[in-house]
Symmetry: C2
Subunit: 411 residues, 2 copies
C-alpha cells in the first residue's frame, strides 16, 4: 500500500475576470486561457468569474480533447461564474449558495446579483494499483473587498467563510482528498482565512510548497498586471494574495505540495495577462499510506477558539448594523404609510365638500402620493431584506457560539 506510486495532481486556478461588455480584451484572453490549458494539460482546472455561458461553451469545445469532463454552476441573476474542467470523471455536483452576499441596492458593486457560491464537483482520481481516491474539489469566490479601511462587507464575507467551512466539514468526510481553489478576497492573515483554515484543517499550498515560482509572497493581484487598478494597490507595493489553493487529506492519504507557481503579470510567453488576477498552479503529490492519520491534535483548539471569537465579534458588529438598518427602513416605511393615509384623509375631505371654496392642488397632490408610495415600496423591500440579513447573521453568530462551546468541551 505505502509503496504505491504517488498520484501527481496538477491543479490550475484562476479568477478569469470575464465580464461581458466590461472586462477588457475578454474574448482574446478566454481564447488564450483555453490554449494554455490545452497545451499544459492540467488534471483539474478551477475557474471563477466566467460570467458568460458562451465563454464556457467556447472553453468547453476547445478543451474537450484533454479535459473530457466539465461543469458550469448556475445561480443568481448573472450566474455563479464558477466552472470546472477535469481529466477525471465528475461523478456528482452540488452548489451551495451563501445566505448573505452583499446588498441588491449596491448596484456599483454587483456582488448580490452574482449568486456567489461554492461549487462542489465530486470525482475519483486513480491512486496506484487500480485504487481510486474520492476527490472533492471546490471552486469558489467570496464577496469582494472594496475598501480595506472601512470594509462594510466584512460580516458578510465572514458569514460566507463560516458557511464555506461548515459546508466543507459536512461534505468532506467521505472524501480522501479535499481540494479548494478560488478567489477568497481575503489576505492570508485575515480573520476569515484563519477561520476557514482552522475550522476545516485545510492547508495553504503556498505555505507548504517545497518549491515556489512566481510573484513575490505568492501575490495574485500585482501592480505589474496591466489590468489591475494601481491606486487600490498603493498600500501594497508588492501586491496582495487573495487567490488560494488549499487542500487536506483525510483518512489514509497524505497530500504534499511539490510545487506552486503563479503567473507574473502576463501569461507565460505572452505580453497580455490571462486576467486581472494571476493564475495559481499547484503540483500535489497524493499518496495512500498504510495507517489512517489520526485526528488533528487538540493543541490547536485554543488558538482556534480565539479565531472563532474574533470572527464572532465581527459578525456581531454586522448584526448590530443590520438591526439598525432594519429599524431605519421600517420607520421610513411607517412614515410613508402615514403620509399616504393623511393624503387619503385629505382627498376624502375634499370629496365630502370640506373646503369647497379653495382650489384642490391635484398635481402636487398626485406627485406627493406617488413619492410616498415609492418610498413605501422601497422601504418595505429594504426592511424585508435587512430582516433576512439579521436572521442570517444571528444564525451564524449562534453557530459560532456552538462551535466555541464544542471547542471548550474538547478534551
Amino acid at each position: 500500500m505505502e509503496g504505491d506510486p504517488p498520484l501527481r495532481l496538477r491543479v490550475f486556478d484562476l479568477n478569469c475576470w470575464a465580464i461581458r461588455y466590461l472586462s477588457k480584451r475578454r474574448q482574446e484572453r478566454v481564447r488564450l486561457i483555453g490554449d494554455t490549458l490545452r497545451r499544459e494539460g492540467f488534471d483539474l482546472v478551477l475557474l471563477q468569474e466566467v460570467w458568460s455561458e458562451q465563454d464556457y461553451s467556447d472553453l468547453m469545445s476547445r478543451l474537450a480533447g484533454c479535459y473530457p469532463f466539465s461543469h458550469y454552476f448556475r445561480s443568481g441573476v448573472i450566474g455563479s461564474g464558477l466552472c470546472v474542467f477535469s481529466r477525471f470523471p465528475i461523478l456528482d455536483t452540488l452548489l451551495y449558495q451563501y445566505s448573505l452576499n452583499g446588498y441588491p441596492y449596491m448596484l456599483q458593486h454587483g456582488d448580490w446579483f452574482c449568486g456567489k457560491s461554492v461549487g462542489l464537483p465530486g470525482s475519483r482520481a486513480g491512486v496506484g494499483r487500480g485504487v481510486t481516491a474520492p476527490l472533492l474539489s471546490l471552486s469558489l469566490q467570496l464577496h469582494a473587498e472594496y475598501c480595506r479601511e472601512k470594509d462594510a462587507y466584512l460580516p458578510h464575507r465572514l458569514v460566507q467563510a463560516w458557511e464555506l467551512a461548515q459546508f466543507i466539514r459536512h461534505t468532506s468526510k467521505a472524501a480522501d482528498v479535499v481540494l479548494l481553489g478560488g478567489d477568497l478576497n481575503m489576505h492570508p492573515e485575515d480573520v476569515g482565512i484563519r477561520l476557514l483554515r482552522g475550522w476545516t484543517g485545510l492547508r495553504d499550498a503556498f505555505a507548504e510548497a517545497t518549491h515556489f515560482e512566481g510573484c513575490k509572497n505568492g501575490c495574485t493581484l500585482v501592480p505589474d498586471n496591466c489590468f489591475t487598478d494601481k491606486s487600490e494597490l498603493l498600500p501594497f507595493p508588492l501586491g496582495i494574495r487573495i487567490d488560494y489553493i488549499l487542500y487536506k487529506a483525510t483518512s489514509s492519504f497524505t497530500v504534499k505540495c511539490e510545487e506552486l507557481k503563479t503567473t507574473t503579470g502576463t501569461a507565460p510567453g505572452m505580453d497580455v495577462p490571462f486576467s486581472d488576477h494571476e493564475a495559481v498552479m499547484a503540483t500535489l503529490h497524493i499518496q495512500r499510506q498504510g495507517q489512517a492519520v489520526g485526528a488533528t491534535p487538540g493543541t490547536a483548539g485554543l488558538a482556534l477558539a480565539d479565531v472563532v471569537t474574533e470572527a464572532r465579534t465581527e459578525v456581531a458588529v454586522g448584526l448590530q448594523a443590520a438591526q439598525h438598518q432594519r429599524y431605519s427602513s421600517g420607520r421610513m416605511a411607517v412614515l410613508a404609510l402615514l403620509l399616504l393615509l393623511l393624503q387619503a384623509a385629505a382627498a376624502l375631505g375634499t370629496l365630502a365638500g370640506l373646503g369647497a371654496g379653495q382650489p384642490f392642488p391635484k398635481l402636487s397632490f398626485c406627485l406627493l402620493a406617488f413619492l410616498a408610495l415609492g418610498v413605501l415600496v422601497l422601504a418595505t423591500g429594504l426592511h424585508l431584506f435587512h430582516t433576512m440579513e439579521v436572521k442570517n447573521l444571528h444564525g451564524t453568530k449562534e453557530q459560532m457560539w456552538m462551535a466555541l462551546r464544542a471547542l471548550q468541551e474538547r478534551p
Copy 2:
C-alpha cells in the same frame, strides 16, 4: 459487537402550524405540545412551522429539563420555522436553503418569505458499551401544494426534493444513522418522494414499521382534525399522508422501525389537536453489527433512472414556464421604458415651445409617467427573479442529467 444491546430511539415529528396572529389557539397548542413532549420524554423532537422565536423560547424553557439540547434555525424573512430538541448533545448544525421556494409576489401563499430549508443538527447517540454512533437528523419542510390538479409549484418542489437528496448524499457519508423528519408536502407515491427515497436510500418508517397505530394509511392531514380545511380533503376521504419519518443506516449499523404512531385528530387524552397536522412518532432500534453492510443493490438502478427521468421532465416543464415568464416580464419592462422615453420626448418638446398654443395636460402626464415607472420597476424585478429561477431550474436539470448518466454507467 453484534451482541451489544440495541439503542431504542424515540422520535417525534410535528408540523406545529404556529403562525402568529393567524393560527387558531396557537399559544394553547404550543403549551400542550410542550407538556406532552415533557411527559413522554422522546429522544429527538423535530418541529416545523414554529415561526415565532417567542414560541421556541417558551418551548425551550419548558423542555430544558428533559431535552437539554435544542436549536432554532433562522432563515428567510419570517424564518425557517424549524427547531430541534434533543436528549443527545447537538455538536454541530448546518442550514441549507433551497435555491427555489415559490414566488415573492404570491403573497397569499407566502412560502417565499419563509426561507424554507433543511436544518441539520449532528449529534452522537450512545449505542451499547460506551460506543456512540454519529447521528444526523434533519428537520425540514418543502413548498406547500395549493392545488393538486394544477400544481404550479411542482417544479420548485422537485428542485427542493432534489437539492435535499443531494444534500443528504453529500453530508451523510460519515454518519452511522441518518434520520429525516418533516412535512414534505408530497403524497407517498408522488415523484418527489420517490426521487428522494430512491436517490438517498432512505426508508419510510410507515412502510417498514412492525407495529402501526394511528390514522388509517398513516395520514397526517385528516378530516377528523378540527383545524383542517375539509374542502381540500374532499377527494381524499381518509386524509393524506405528507409528514414523514425517513431513515437509513450507513456503514456497520442497522435501523429497524419497531413502532410508528400518529395522533388521530386530537392530542392524546385531549379534545384539541396539537396542530392541523397529525404528529408522527417512531420508535427505532439501532444496532451495531459485526460486518459493514454492502452498498444498495444495483437492481434498483433502472427504476431509479425512470424516477429521475420523470422528475427531470417536470423540471423541464417548469423551466419552459420560467423562460416564458422571464421573456414576458422583460418585454413589459422594455415597453414601460419606451413609454417613459416617449413621454420624456413629449415633455422636452413642450419645453422647447412646440405646440405652445395648446394646454399641456400636466396631471394625466404625471399619472401616466408614474404608472410607467411603477411598471418598469416591477417588471424589472420580476425579470431578475425569473432569470434566477431559470438558472436554478436549468442547473437542477443538468445535475439530474449527470445523475442519469452515472446511473446508466453503473455496472
